[in-house]
């Protein structure tokens, strides 16, 4: 299968890119994340699985900065980022992908990608320019935009409104937008929710193809897919890490079987 070969393209070099140290997030008396520590290597494809309510999305929100931590530390590229705002984290290289419908529907495909490319470079321009110089005259941003449009194979529909795109093309656009923010690490929260088996396969292949140089962190329900793609898997349960390891280690882990996989993988 195509994905098999692409997994081989991933290179990890043992360098830590993301480190979580004793993360805690409580809502009132409820601990959604309870003392989670983990490290992710550069270039790794890491999946996070766990039953509903395990705290997967909350964990993502702590990494992306959408929610403040109650306790603990987040390191990215060796620097502490626990207190940084979401945009500051994006600037450091933490990209976040959304579900497919979540592009800027009223804007053109090119505009969608350009916004992301522009965000990555905005420091290079002065305020007056950014207020008055038309976007069409920023050569480097537009070059980057065109490069990404080609990469995701949407250059032929660049001037169409994103809402008018076919489903598969919107998915491409979504991933292209993330790529254009020039991320080192990309967080995917159930990118394939609600998709058919085929669509899921295609989406994952696309992610693998386009984001081959990025570190990926994925929340996914399709266990088979996760087992097939991931370098390592982290299993969350009730806000705590239940197990962590290679797909083979995880599928052989008895406590994971009991807590989670037992009912799902027949």
């Amino acid at each position: 299968m195509a994905t098999e070969t692409q997994i081989d393209d991933r290179r990890t070099n043992g360098e830590t890119v993301l480190e979580l140290d004793g993360l805690v997030k409580t809502f009132g008396a409820f601990a959604a994340i309870d003392d989670v520590s983990m490290t992710v290597e550069r270039g790794e494809f890491r999946s996070i699985i766990g039953p509903n309510g395990a705290g997967k999305t909350t964990l993502f929100n702590l990494i992306s900065g959408a929610l403040p931590v109650t306790d603990g530390t987040v390191y990215f590229d060796g620097e502490e980022i626990t207190k940084l705002s979401p945009p500051e984290r994006v600037a450091r290289g933490i990209g976040r992908s959304f579900q497919i419908s979540n592009v800027f529907g009223g804007l053109s495909v090119r505009e969608n990608v350009r916004l992301a490319a522009q965000a990555d470079r905005r420091d290079g321009y002065n305020l007056v320019e950014s207020f008055f110089k038309p976007t069409g005259r920023y050569g480097d941003i537009n070059q980057e935009t065109d490069r990404i449009l080609e990469r995701i194979d949407l250059d032929h529909v660049a001037d169409e409104e994103a809402d008018a795109l076919a489903y598969g093309d919107r998915r491409r656009l979504e991933i292209g937008v993330v790529l254009a923010t020039d991320p080192e690490l990309v967080l995917f929260d159930e990118p394939t929710a609600g998709m058919s088996v085929e669509e899921t396969q295609e989406t994952i292949e696309l992610i693998e193809e386009v984001l081959v140089d990025q570190t990926l962190l994925l929340i996914e329900h399709d266990i088979e897919l996760v087992m097939e793609l991931s370098d390592r898997i982290t299993v969350l349960n009730q806000g705590e890490i239940l197990a962590e390891g290679t797909p083979a280690q995880i599928s052989g882990n008895q406590s994971v079987q009991d807590a989670y996989l037992g009912g799902m993988v027949e």
Binding site: S85, V90, F104, G105, G106, S130, T135, D189
Partner: protein
């Protein structure tokens, strides 16, 4: 002395109890349905006028008071149910700000209906004999009617409280104001309760209006004057909280009537807005409100989409033609010898500029400012005060107006933009009202009299080079262009320049970020944009243009008064933006034209033209939220040779919830 204090306290409680009844309905309606009902004050006054009809107009007088007290609220309650069913209901699922727009339209309609039926005079409700005179209480003589207000209002509030606390209906409503979705998940069709809640709220307001009209007087503008304090109370107590409405109502009543009015009258009317702003900043959910799951808050505002019919170049040419036509107005008017169209045109263009400025924040970043008249007023006073005290150059004065409005917009934006949606609307309203009240109090602004420019020498030019418009004359054929006609060109020039500047901004990186915020703010954040900063900048730009409009507004009238900053103006400019179509730069200009064109057309037939305007506006909000500019796109599929229907399908906002529950 003690007697005076006691009397003042009693006055405060009397007014407070009216506020409690008003705010309770307003608050519960918001809690359950997320609807901010601007028409609540009008419903109260309508109740009072129904009571007027039952007591005075039947000739029965005070003896029918009790009958009126029962029947009028029932009538208004039924009206409330109908309003909810036929106007509010179609808007559920849209951004909650549309309810503000809708109910503002209802204000215009109901207010003019009252004028139409009962005229401009005021009525004092006749009281039954028992309630006239005074009774002794704690050794003081107290007006029997005031006591009656406190007791009956208190009982009413108690009844509502018991209803909420001890009945199944109440339980569902309370649960609904915490988390509607949860209630639905329990298998309860909470939507069916909406009409009931709205009706009861309307009835309560009517009751409050009636007892108030027996104490003060029923006049058509009473609704406009009580709705704003009622909002303050709802915000203070916490949107959606009944307890908050009770405490807030009494607090504001006592603060206003017992403390400020007798002791520090200078601060009356301002303290409550400072309090409101403070609460919104420190505790947006109010004293007793709880943070409740706000659904629908992420829905997009419906912008009038552009350019799907005409080519870019065609549109540009069309624009030039429009400017050409507008430039001909003074000449044609001169030929016809009717300068009315020149002054009328100036007025329309100034408002078009004002509407354009609002659209820049509302249509492009989704920030609905309910207090944009603040900047109109700032610009207006800056120009007049500037010309009186600082400079005699109109251009310098206008520059002052722009700078001042932009600076205040930065401050207001800095404080307000962190709160979102409905709360932002409320806080901008509070700032505008604060300024409006300040204008009455300050000596330099001339108080309620305002300031005139008559007798002031000023010129159009810089550094002493220039002339008064009346001293310049251009001859175009038989037509002499001077004075008002030249001012028209100044305004047209300002509008065209502003249009091109804003257009240019929207094509810049800054503008494209604004558009992305409108489309999906969360996503923009995760592209790496600090959206708060961009919104604040947009607000400053908007404030600056509104200030320019305000300056021209004052020059046009050669006069300025506090009414330049009244909340009705903020509402009217929103009406224009919606009529034309927000999110397009020419939409608001068309909207301003339609607004005044309608006024012009209708005032020939009736002085109560807002009734028609309000009705049209309500219909627009419900059926044509993308405004006039969306009409060609909607009609296109039905015209021969038009594009297929695909380009015209109304793109309703999709649910953009991304934080999937885990």
């Amino acid at each position: 002395m003690l007697g005076t204090i006691f009397q003042q306290l009693l006055d405060g409680i009397t007014v407070g109890i009216v506020y409690v009844l008003l705010a309770a309905g307003l608050s519960v309606i918001f809690g359950v349905m997320n609807v901010i009902n601007f028409a609540h004050g009008e419903l109260a006054v309508l109740g009072a006028y129904f009571a007027v009809a039952i007591t005075i107009q039947t000739g029965i007088g005070g003896n029918a008071f009790v009958v009126a007290l029962v029947i009028a609220p029932l009538l208004v309650g039924v009206l409330g149910v109908a309003l909810e069913r036929y106007t509010v209901q179609p808007l559920y699922g849209r951004n909650p700000l549309y309810h503000i727009l809708l109910t503002f339209g209802l204000v215009l309609v109901i207010n003019d209906l009252i004028y139409l039926v009962w005229g401009t005079g005021s009525f004092r409700l006749p009281r039954p004999g028992v309630l006239t005179g005074t009774v002794g209480a704690f050794g003081f003589g107290v007006s029997a009617y005031n006591l009656f207000m406190i007791v009956s209002g208190g009982l009413m509030a108690l009844a509502v409280w018991a209803l909420l606390e001890y009945t199944r209906y109440g339980l569902i409503i309370r649960a609904g104001s915490q988390d509607r979705q949860m209630v639905r998940n329990l298998g309860i069709e909470i939507d069916r309760y909406y009409s009931l809640v709205f009706g009861v709220g309307a009835g309560l307001a009517a009751f409050a209006g009636i007892i108030l009209a027996g104490n003060q007087q029923a006049h058509p503008d009473l609704g406009m004057s009580i709705i704003i304090p009622a909002f303050v109370i709802v915000v203070l107590g916490g949107l959606g909280s009944f307890k908050g409405a009770v405490v807030g109502g009494l607090l504001v009543g006592i603060l206003q009537e017992s403390i400020l009015r007798p002791w520090v009258p200078w601060l009356e009317g301002m303290v409550i807005f400072v309090l409101m702003i403070g609460i919104l900043l420190i505790r947006p959910h109010g004293l007793f409100g709880t943070e409740h799951a706000e659904e629908g808050g992420t829905e997009r505002l419906l912008a009038g989409r552009t350019g799907s019919l005409l080519e870019r170049e065609t549109r540009f040419k069309l624009g030039l033609v429009m400017i050409g036509v507008l430039a001909l107005v003074p000449i044609v008017a001169g030929l016809l010898g009717n300068l009315f169209w020149v002054t009328f045109g100036s007025r329309v263009l100034i408002w078009a500029l004002f509407a354009l400025s609002l659209d820049f924040v509302m249509g492009y970043t989704g920030l609905v400012s309910l207090g944009h008249a603040l900047f109109l007023g700032l610009g207006a006073y800056a120009v007049v005060l500037g010309l009186i005290h600082v400079t005699s150059s109109v251009f310098v004065a206008l520059a002052l107006a722009i700078a001042l409005s932009a600076a205040i917009a930065w401050i207001v934006g800095f404080l307000s933009i962190r709160v979102a949606g409905v709360y932002f609307a409320m806080i901008t309203l509070a700032f505008a009202e604060l300024y409006y009240n300040l204008l009455y109090r300050l000596e330099i602004t001339g108080g309620s009299e305002g300031l005139g420019l008559l007798g002031q020498d000023y010129y159009y030019g810089l550094a002493g080079i220039g002339a008064s418009l009346d001293d310049i004359a251009f001859f175009v054929g038989p037509v002499v262009l001077t004075g008002h006609s030249l001012f028209y060109y100044v305004v047209l020039g300002a509008l065209v320049a502003s249009y091109f500047v804003t257009r240019r901004m929207l094509q810049s990186p800054f503008g494209s970020v604004l558009k992305s915020i409108r489309e999906n703010e969360e996503r923009a954040t995760f592209l790496g944009y600090r959206t708060v900063v961009y919104k604040r900048r947009a607000f400053v730009v908007s404030g600056a243009f509104a200030g320019l409009a305000g300056g021209l507004f004052a020059l046009n009238n050669a006069f300025v008064s506090p009414s330049a900053a009244e909340w009705l103006k903020s509402g009217e400019v929103i009406v224009m933006v919606i009529l034309g179509g927000m999110g397009t730069l020419y939409g608001p200009i068309i909207g301003a034209g339609a607004f005044f064109g309608l006024e012009q057309l209708l005032t020939h037939y009736t002085g109560r033209w807002r009734l028609v305007l309000g009705t049209i506006f309500v219909l627009f909000v419900i059926f044509l939220p993308r405004g006039l500019v969306s009409v060609p796109t909607l009609l296109a599929p039905y015209l021969p040779g038009g594009p297929g229907p695909t380009s015209a399908t109304e793109q309703l906002p999709e649910d953009s919830s991304t934080e999937g529950g885990d």
